[in-house]
Symmetry: C2
Subunit: 318 residues, 2 copies
C-alpha cells in the first residue's frame, strides 16, 4: 500500500498543501485561502474539506501516515501557532492538536522557514550537509538553521529568526514591533522601501518612478534591473549588502557550509546573490573567509515548505 | 585506581592547567608562561615538564586517562590551533598531535571559549540546560554556543565567534583585521577604549583622567564606577548596551534559555549585567522577551576552561 504524508504550508494569504511520498514526489497539490477566515476553526474546516477532496486524486490503495505543517510562528515543541503577526488568529493556537482530530496519524508542526530548511536538507541542496542556513525571502525574511544535522529549535521552539536581528539602529518599523529588523530591508517589501528611499534621495531617472507604493512589487524592481535601471540596480546592491553583512554575523555563530536563498527575491539570481556574497566576505571574520557558499535553493520551483513539512514525519520513519 | 584528566587552558600570556577528577575537583593546579616562547616546540617541552612536576602532587595510585585542551582558534575537528591572533605561533599547528607524543591516552582540543561553555555545562550553571550561550570577557570576547545539549562546532570547527560579529559599521579596528567587531567594544580593552572616547568628548571630571592608555585596566574602571565616577558609569552603560543589542541577535539565532558571562569584566556584577539585560530586552524580538536569563558564570572563581577542557575527555567516558 502506498504511503503519503500530507504536507501543509500555511502562508499569510494562501495555504499550500500536497500529498508527499517517501521519495519527495508531491501529488494532489492544491492551495486554499488563509486570510478570508476570521476564525481558525472555520479555516481548518475548509482546509480539511479541500484535503479530503485532494485525496480523491490519489490512485490505488494508500494510507495517510502523518501530517506535517509549516506555519508562521509555529512552535515545534507544542504544536502551536503563537501570535503570528501576519495571521488573523491571535493568541496561542493549538493547531496540531486541532488537526489531530481529523487524522488518525502523527501530526507535527514547525515554523514555515524551519520546514523549508528541512525540505532543503532532505530533498534539496542540503542533502549530506550537516551545517547550513536556509533563508526564505518573501513578505518577510524567514530562516532555518541546521546544526549537527538537526534543526535548531532552541529553548522555546522559536530559534532561527534571523529576519528579526537588528540591521540598523532605530531603523525601519517592523511588523514585529521593533525597529531596524533585517527583514524590513531584505524581503519583497524591504527592497521596495529601499527603492522609495532612493527615489526620494536621488535625481537619476528611473522607470520605477511611475508606480505608487501600493502598485510596486519586487518583480517590477527585478525587471527594471534587467534593463539597467540605476535605481533598481542600486536597490539590489544595498539589499545584498545588508543581507551579506548580517549573514556574516550568522556565520560567526554557527559556521555553516552553505547558505541557501529561497523565494521571490532569490529568483532575481545574481542581482541579489553577487552583492550578498561580496559583502559577506567583506564583513566575515578571517577564518570563515571564502568558505561559505551562498546559492539559490535547489527546490526553487517546488514547494519546499510542503516538502519540508512532510519530512517532519518522514524523517522519523526511516 | 584514581583517574585524572589533564585540563589545559592556553591563554595569550599564561597557560593554566590542572588534574581534574571525574567529579570536577582540580588537583595540582599550575600556570606556565605562554608568550615567552617564540617556538611552539619549546613552549610544549616546558609545559610537559611542568605537568610531569605537577603529577608528583597527586596522591596514591592514579592514571592519566586523557588530555583536554582549550586554545585560542582551536579546531576541535583537527586538533589544530590555526592562526591565533594573540599567540606568537602562526600558521596551522597540529597541537593535539604534538601533545599526543607525550601521553598514551586520548588528546582533544577545542577553542578556549568552547571549553568554558562545556565547563559550565558539566560543572556549572549550565547543568541540565540544553540550549545556552557562554560569553567569556577578557582580552577578547569569546563565546561557546550549546544547542540541543552539544557544543556548536559548525562546518569547519570554528563556530561560536560572537566576539567577531559586527557591532558598528566602520567601527574600531579589531585584532582579527576587521572593523567594528563586538569585542572591540565589549572586553577589557573595549571598555577602556570607550572610557578614552568619553574622556575626549566629555568635560565632566573623572578620576580616570589621571591614567595613560597603557596604565589603565578594566579593574580601575570598575573601582571608579563603585565611587560613582560619571565616565566609568557611562562606559559600563555603553558596554552593556552594545553587548545587549548584539546578544539579542544571538537569541534570535539559537534561542538560549540562559546566557552566562565569565571573566574579568563579568566580575563587575550589576554594572555590566543590568545594562546588558535592559538593552537585550529592548532589542530582542517579541516572542523572546523576558525569557532569557543573563547571569554570571557559576564557576567564576574557578578555572572554567581547565574544567571544560577536561570534560572534552570525561564526557565520552560516562
Amino acid at each position: 500500500m502506498k504511503e503519503y504524508v500530507i504536507g501543509i504550508d500555511i502562508g499569510g494569504t494562501f495555504t499550500k498543501y500536497g500529498f508527499v511520498d517517501r521519495e519527495g514526489n508531491i501529488f494532489g497539490e492544491g492551495s486554499s485561502p488563509t486570510d478570508i477566515y476570521d476564525k481558525v476553526e472555520d479555516y481548518l474546516e475548509n482546509l480539511v474539506k479541500e484535503l479530503k477532496g485532494g485525496e480523491k486524486s490519489l490512485e490505488g490503495e494508500y494510507k495517510i501516515v502523518g501530517v506535517g505543517i509549516g506555519a508562521p510562528n509555529g512552535n515545534f515543541y507544542n504544536g502551536t501557532i503563537e501570535d503570528a503577526p501576519n495571521l488573523k488568529w491571535k493568541g496561542i493556537i493549538p493547531f496540531a492538536r486541532m488537526v489531530q482530530k481529523y487524522y488518525d496519524a502523527p501530526v507535527r508542526l514547525t515554523n514555515d522557514a524551519n520546514a523549508a530548511a528541512l525540505g532543503e536538507k532532505v530533498y534539496g541542496g542540503g542533502q549530506g550537509i550537516d551545517n547550513f542556513i536556509m533563508i526564505t525571502l518573501g513578505t518577510g525574511l524567514g530562516s532555518g538553521i541546521i546544526v549537527n544535522g538537526d534543526l535548531v529549535y532552541g529553548h522555546d521552539g522559536f530559534a532561527g529568526e534571523i529576519g528579526h536581528t537588528n540591521a540598523v539602529e532605530n531603523g525601519r518599523q517592523c511588523g514585529c514591533g521593533n525597529r531596524g529588523c533585517l527583514e524590513t530591508y531584505v524581503s519583497a517589501p524591504g527592497i521596495k522601501r529601499t527603492v522609495f528611499e532612493l527615489l526620494a534621495h536621488d535625481s537619476r531617472g528611473s522607470d520605477l518612478a511611475n508606480y505608487s507604493y501600493n502598485e510596486m512589487d519586487s518583480e517590477m524592481i527585478y525587471n527594471a534591473a534587467k534593463k539597467d535601471d540605476p535605481i533598481a540596480l542600486e536597490a539590489f546592491e544595498i539589499t545584498g549588502r545588508t543581507l551579506g553583512r548580517k549573514l556574516a554575523d550568522s556565520v560567526a555563530h554557527t559556521s555553516p557550509k552553505a547558505i541557501f536563498l529561497f523565494g521571490g527575491l532569490a529568483k532575481s539570481g545574481d542581482y541579489i546573490l553577487k552583492p550578498t556574497k561580496k559583502y559577506l566576505e567583506e564583513y566575515v571574520m578571517g577564518p570563515f573567509k571564502n568558505k561559505v557558499e551562498i546559492k539559490p535553493s535547489q527546490l526553487m520551483d517546488k514547494n519546499v515548505a510542503v516538502l519540508g513539512s512532510s519530512s517532519l514525519i518522514w524523517k522519523d520513519m526511516a
